[in-house]
Structures are given as structure tokens and as C-alpha cells.
Symmetry: C2
Subunit: 433 residues, 2 copies
């Protein structure tokens, strides 16, 4: 094992023993290399005469850039767009994101969390956590309504045994008992990874404050019983809360200092929060009760994992997100988009209130995010999807034999009533055949 | 195993049996998921009325973007910058890069190579190859003068046993015998991964045409003896060839159709070729003799690996590279930067021709790229680096006990004579102590 890894492991073991136990075999091996990077960092500080360490082309003190690239920018220049970002992300962006994270999650006040590490989108945050904390055969609890890529990231790529917990009760609300039952089946293993995703893809469900509190209690009880837990909060759709009753903060606020055996990980990013899907700017933030002394070592291991996977994330994308965050108009612009999306969600609810629809489907509870799901009555969801697409020119996603996901994120408010009418007509016709 | 993976494996096994044998355990498991992605693709074609499949926020037929992000662009609009790119990369960019690849490597004429897959920088291409082709304990041959991150990507992250081959003879040229000797030691295993990196980081050495031909012969002989080989060409610094005698094409041209047991992989990107380090646009292209029928399946597995690691690479970065490539001024702009870097390399050679320097160092052969290396005489390289930095304000990289790397990529031509004078003075003083 590399001596740098040993050093980081020692720190982590001293500061947060459960965190050390949770590390995968690879997680223990990881370190942030010195060598070129450290030497370059030293030279950046001290080489006042000539800096011949830099693996970039520079002329007269600036990055050498092609005008055919740079002409696309109104004010960003070569030095702001072209150089490599650090593996853990731009320092200014990491600090800014943590500040915003605290603003958006007031309950984090007084809770020590790590500095966010920049990832190439949230998927990269998830795969980094999988590398660092998931060994083949480890159990990963995922909701039964889920984004399928979790299975590729953790199952195929890292050999996790994915176990589904029931997410919702059709009559409304979180299936907390279902989650607790599944969790308890696996706590005797001593190590469990759990994935939470609110607002949920595909159902658009988010927790109420009391559900979040109770979820936390269930996890703490499992930790108390001797189980170490990695609790991931995939907050991709954070902020898109359309209902007064919904918790406006991340579940991470409840978990980040819940128990010394619970490592909470917040995965979020600009993709949905800043309407910047293809930029690929995500963040990964750690919290563990009493373990703040391990954060720096953990961030270094995380940065090492990133260096060994993609080296670093796009600097121009990070720069754009940072500039947006510092723009005085940023919050008002986000608020405007949010209001538009909320009106769509309200329109969906209004439309679905018509009792006629119960003949063909029941909507799952939804209160947030991009999507909602319908449970079809006596219809195969894939057959329905194909018929709807071929004969009506309407695209939805079939997520199981019975369920379809409908995105209001991509359908204008004025079209929503007709969208559901068309789906209703198609379903009715199919039922009658 | 997922049925989609089985299907891809069957194709690969039929079309290119050695390629199938080379796949890692993970490589065999990989597939490109259908589900949401396929359903969305179908809807994009057929949902002429409402497309409620898209996991992005759209309004009135366009991506919803924040002006605080979009105001940074002169002509690119929300639809060009914000949506997700496909996991394998933008189709238009992949086609454009392959065209350019053929232009830059005329010997590829008539050779069937895969469509390039877009990666988040070359590191991500390397780690994707490591995932797909490297099992724990597999042997990876790397040059003894190397970019250290290979060891993190293949060694730490995938458990490869890295074995070094001697790259250069100090008296000049490639150490072909050294490479052949090391390769032969490992061919009895039946599977070897080999990493080539020309122009080399750190030495700035590139092959002559006859060295490339002979390297290819050595590999073909190993393949003939029954060894399956993944031959990676890390072409990060491609094009920066400063010497008439140097091969102006990639070694990939020699390997892409060399033998049915040799899978050649070209790893290149915009980072250095287009002076766009921090954008993170790399490419990964496959070639194997007689195996063209397996490329599509291999690209799908590659895309699946990317989906399970980062989902997709930055679209804005891809868009910028594509736009630059299509800009009429692109080639002239690159030529101008190239000429500037070549003048620096020539200046370094001119300066080093002074025989006085042989008292303190011998330069390794160099003819390309960003760097050159000096082998210090009777001096510890790290001690030299520190002294040079602390007392002279000059930054270089120590790459071993005896060697330092000096980047002319980041030092202006006018400063080069003084840079070497200062290094000389420092070395002389240290020798005298």
C-alpha cells in the first residue's frame, strides 16, 4: 500500500473508526498522489522567475488558446476557461457551493460537513462513492421506484447486491415500515449502503419533515444495533418542491451528524438545480457525527479517486456555474423557472383530480421534481407506451409492467390537459379491446 | 449476466475472438442499457405531439436555461449548450474527429477503425480501457519514463501489475531491445496490456518511422506466439512533432490492423491538440485486424462503461471543440501555436548544444511535445529541484532520483537561454559543495 494511503487511513481510523470500516478495499488503497501535482503547486507559489513545471502551453504569462474556441465567450478569457481545474474541483466553486448549501439547508447550521468535491455530474459522484465504499457483495438498498443507472454504477461496475425497498404507499406517503423491514433484514451484515433520492425519479415524491425525521430515527436505530451505514442522498432535483407540506431541505440535514456509524453523503449539482444538464457539474459532500477530523483525508482520497478516473472535471463548466452563482440576477432567474415548473405540477394535479381518470390509472403521490408516475389499471405499461407513441405521437416512459413516468419538465403548461386527455383516450381504447 | 451483455459478447466473440478474450470480467458484464434511454430516443423520433420522456426542463420547444449562464456565450444558445450529450459523445463530433483522425494519419486509409467514443479527457479514456480490459493481476507494460497517473488508473484502481520497459537509450533513440526483452518475459501469460505514449511525457521523445515499424513487428511476433495484446497509444501530445526525422502519424496507424490478436486503442483529445486542457474532451478509438464487425458492440460496451461512471461528458465542451474544428481559421490558428512551440524546442536544443552543460547534465533525446528531461550528473534531482526553486525562483519537476523534467510549453522563447543558465549555475554550485 502506498505510504500516502497509509497516512490517510491512519487519520481516518483515528478520527472516525466507522468511516474507516466502511471504506472498500479500493477506498483504503486510494490516496492523492504527490509527485508532479505537488511539485507544480509548490512552483506556482515560489517560481517567481520561470515556471517550467506546467503541462499546459502558455505564452507571456497566459494560457495559449485558439481564437476559434475563445471567440465563443463574451467575457471569460483563456485563463478562465482553458487551464485544468484541480481534481477536487475549483477551490472558489467548492467554497461557494458549500455556502449555498448552508443557505438552502438552514438546519445544517452548526453541523460540520466536508468541503464539497466537484464531480463530473452526479453520476460521477455516485460512481466515486461506489469505488470508495462498495466492495463486491456489499448490500445496497435502493428504492423500488428508481433511476436505473444506480444498478449499472453499483451493481454491474462494483458488484453490489442491490436490494429494493418499497418507496411509496399508493394511498399516499412514504412506506416507512417497508423501508425499515428491508433495512433490518440486512443490518446483521454490519455494513449497508442506502440510497435515498428525493425528489424521487421517477415518481416526483419528496419527504415531509416528519417522514425525514422518522427515516433518520430508523437509520440511527440500525446504527445503534451495530451496523455501519453509508447513507447517500441523491439530491439531483433538489429545490423543486411544489407542495407546502414538503421538507424544503435535504434529508442530508438529518443524517450529516446523526450517528458516528452513519456516513451521510450528499450528491447534488448544477444539472437540475441550475438548468445546466450537459455542463456536468456535480458535488459530493460528506457528513459524519464526530468525524470532522477525517474530512480532509477523505477529500484527498476522493480527489485521488477522481484523478484516477477522469483527472478533473471541466473547468469551463465549473467557471460557468460559479459565474452564474455570483450573478446578482441568479436567484431571481432560478425563482422564475421554478415558478413555471410549479405551475405545471399544479396543473397536472388539477387535471388528475377529475374522477374519470380512476378508470384507467392511479397516480402515485407526487409533490416535487420533474416527473410523476401513473399506475395503469389492467394495462401493460410497455404496450401502452408503444401504442401512445405510434398512434398518438405522445412519448412517455414505461418504468415497470404497470407504471409509466410522465415528465412535466418537458411539456408546456398549456399542453398538459390535452396530454392527459390523449393518454386517457389511448388507455380507454386499449382497455376496451 | 444481463441479456444485453450476452448479446454483445456473442457478437464480439464471433467477430473478434481475441478481443473477447481480452475483455475483463467487468468488460464482459458491460452493456448499454435500454430502458429510459432507448424509450427517449424512440420518442425523440416519433413523439410529434407531446414528448413527456425528457429528463430536462424545456419550454416552448427549447431547453430552459438561466440567462446568468447563457449570457457568457456569443452565439451558442441554450439548445446547443445545455442538454445532455449522449454517453458515447455527440454524434457530429465523433464523425468530425474520425475524419480529422484520418486526415492527420494518412496511413489509416483503408483501415477500418471504430467511431471515436468521446471521453472526459484522456484519463477517462484510459480508465475506461482499464475497466473494460484489465483484471486484477493483469500485466501492464509502461515506459520507465512515464506519466505517473497510469499507475493510479491501472494499478491502484484496477489492480494491474505495472511492469516498466526501458524507453530510451541515452545515446539516442528508442530502446527497442529493452522493450522486446520485457515483452517476451510476459507473453507466456497469454494476455498483456501495453502502454505507448508518443510524444512521451516526460521526455518529449517521439518515434521515427522505422522505430514505429519495428515496434509493430515486435508486437506482431508476440501475437504470433499466442499472446493477446491491448496496445494503447496515449497520443495526448499528438501533432507536436518538431523534427524532420520523426513519424508524423500515430503509432496507432501501424497497430490498428496489425494482427487479429492485437487490439489497438488510440487515446487522444482536444486537451493538448486544441489547447483546451480544462475542457475535458478526449477520444477513444479502436482498431483490430479483421474485427470491424465487433466495433459497434464494443462501442456499446464502452458507452455503457461511461454511463456507469459519469453518464456523459460535458456537452458545452464538446460543442466548443466541434465549433472550433469547423471554423475556417482553425488550422491556421493551430499552425501558429505549433510554430511557436517548435521555435521554443529548437531554442532549447540550440542552448543545450553548448558543451559546458555536459559537466552537470545529459539531455535525454527529445523531438516533440511539451517537455524534455535532463539526467543530472552526481546530483540528486529532488535536492536540485528544491534548491532551484527556493534560491532561484525556477520551477522544474523531479521525475526520479537523477532526472528533472523541464517544460518549454510554459516558458517563453526569450527566457529559455536564461532558464538553462540558471539551472546550470545552480547545478554547478551544488556539485561544488
Amino acid at each position: 500500500m502506498n505510504p500516502l494511503a497509509v497516512e490517510l487511513n491512519d487519520t481516518i481510523q483515528n478520527e472516525a473508526p466507522a468511516l474507516f470500516r466502511l471504506l472498500s478495499e479500493l477506498g483504503r488503497e486510494l490516496y492523492f498522489p504527490k509527485g508532479i501535482l505537488t511539485q507544480t503547486a509548490e512552483a506556482n507559489q515560489k517560481a517567481h522567475r520561470y515556471n517550467a513545471t506546467i503541462g499546459e502551453a502558455r505564452a507571456e504569462g497566459h494560457a495559449m488558446g485558439l481564437p476559434s474556441i475563445l471567440r465563443h465567450f463574451t467575457e471569460l478569457d483563456a485563463d478562465e476557461v482553458l487551464p485544468y481545474a484541480p481534481s477536487a474541483g475549483r477551490a472558489d466553486l467548492r467554497v461557494a457551493w458549500r455556502e449555498e448549501l448552508r443557505e438552502k439547508n438552514p438546519s445544517l447550521s452548526g453541523v460540520a460537513v466536508s468541503l464539497p468535491v466537484v464531480t463530473c455530474g452526479i453520476t460521477h459522484g455516485l460512481s466515486t462513492i461506489a469505488d470508495m465504499f462498495c466492495d463486491p457483495g456489499d448490500v445496497l438498498l435502493v428504492p423500488d421506484k428508481l433511476w436505473g443507472n444506480y444498478l449499472l454504477v453499483f451493481g454491474v461496475k462494483r458488484g453490489a447486491e442491490a436490494v429494493r425497498y418499497p418507496l411509496l404507499r399508493l394511498e399516499g406517503g412514504l412506506d416507512l415500515e417497508g423501508f425499515e423491514r428491508v433495512l433490518r433484514q440486512h443490518t446483521p451484515r454490519g455494513k449497508v449502503l442506502v440510497l435515498f433520492n428525493f425528489p424521487n425519479n421517477p415518481t416526483g415524491y419528496s419527504l415531509t419533515p416528519s417522514e425525514a425525521d422518522r427515516l433518520c430515527e430508523v437509520l440511527v436505530a440500525a446504527a445503534e444495533s451495530g451496523c455501519d451505514i453509508v447513507a447517500m442522498c441523491d439530491d439531483a432535483y433538489f429545490g423543486l418542491f411544489f407542495d407546502e407540506a414538503v421538507l424544503k431541505e435535504s434529508l442530508f440535514t438529518r443524517l450529516a451528524a446523526a450517528h458516528p456509524r452513519i456516513l451521510a453523503v450528499k450528491l447534488d449539482g448544477a444539472s437540475k438545480e441550475d438548468f445546466a444538464w450537459g455542463l456536468r457539474v456535480g458535488f459530493l459532500t460528506y457528513g459524519i457525527a464526530g468525524g470532522a477530523g477525517a474530512y480532509e483525508a477523505l477529500e484527498k482520497k476522493t480527489a485521488g479517486c477522481i484523478r484516477g478516473t477522469i483527472s478533473n472535471s471541466s473547468n469551463v463548466a465549473q467557471q460557468l456555474v460559479l459565474r452564474a452563482m455570483k450573478d446578482p440576477a441568479y436567484k431571481a432567474q432560478k425563482e422564475e423557472k421554478f415558478a413555471l415548473l410549479r405551475r405545471r405540477a399544479e396543473k397536472v394535479r388539477e387535471v388528475l383530480a377529475d374522477p374519470k381518470f380512476t378508470r384507467v390509472w392511479r397516480p402515485y403521490p407526487f409533490n416535487s421534481g420533474y416527473f410523476m408516475c401513473l399506475r395503469l389499471e389492467h394495462l401493460n405499461a410497455e404496450a401502452f407506451r408503444l401504442r401512445l407513441l405510434e398512434e398518438y405521437g405522445v412519448g412517455v416512459i414505461s418504468t415497470s409492467d404497470t407504471d409509466v413516468r410522465v415528465a412535466h419538465s418537458s411539456v408546456d403548461e398549456k399542453d398538459i390537459p390535452d396530454l392527459y386527455e390523449v393518454m386517457f383516450e389511448c388507455a380507454l381504447r386499449m382497455q376496451g379491446e
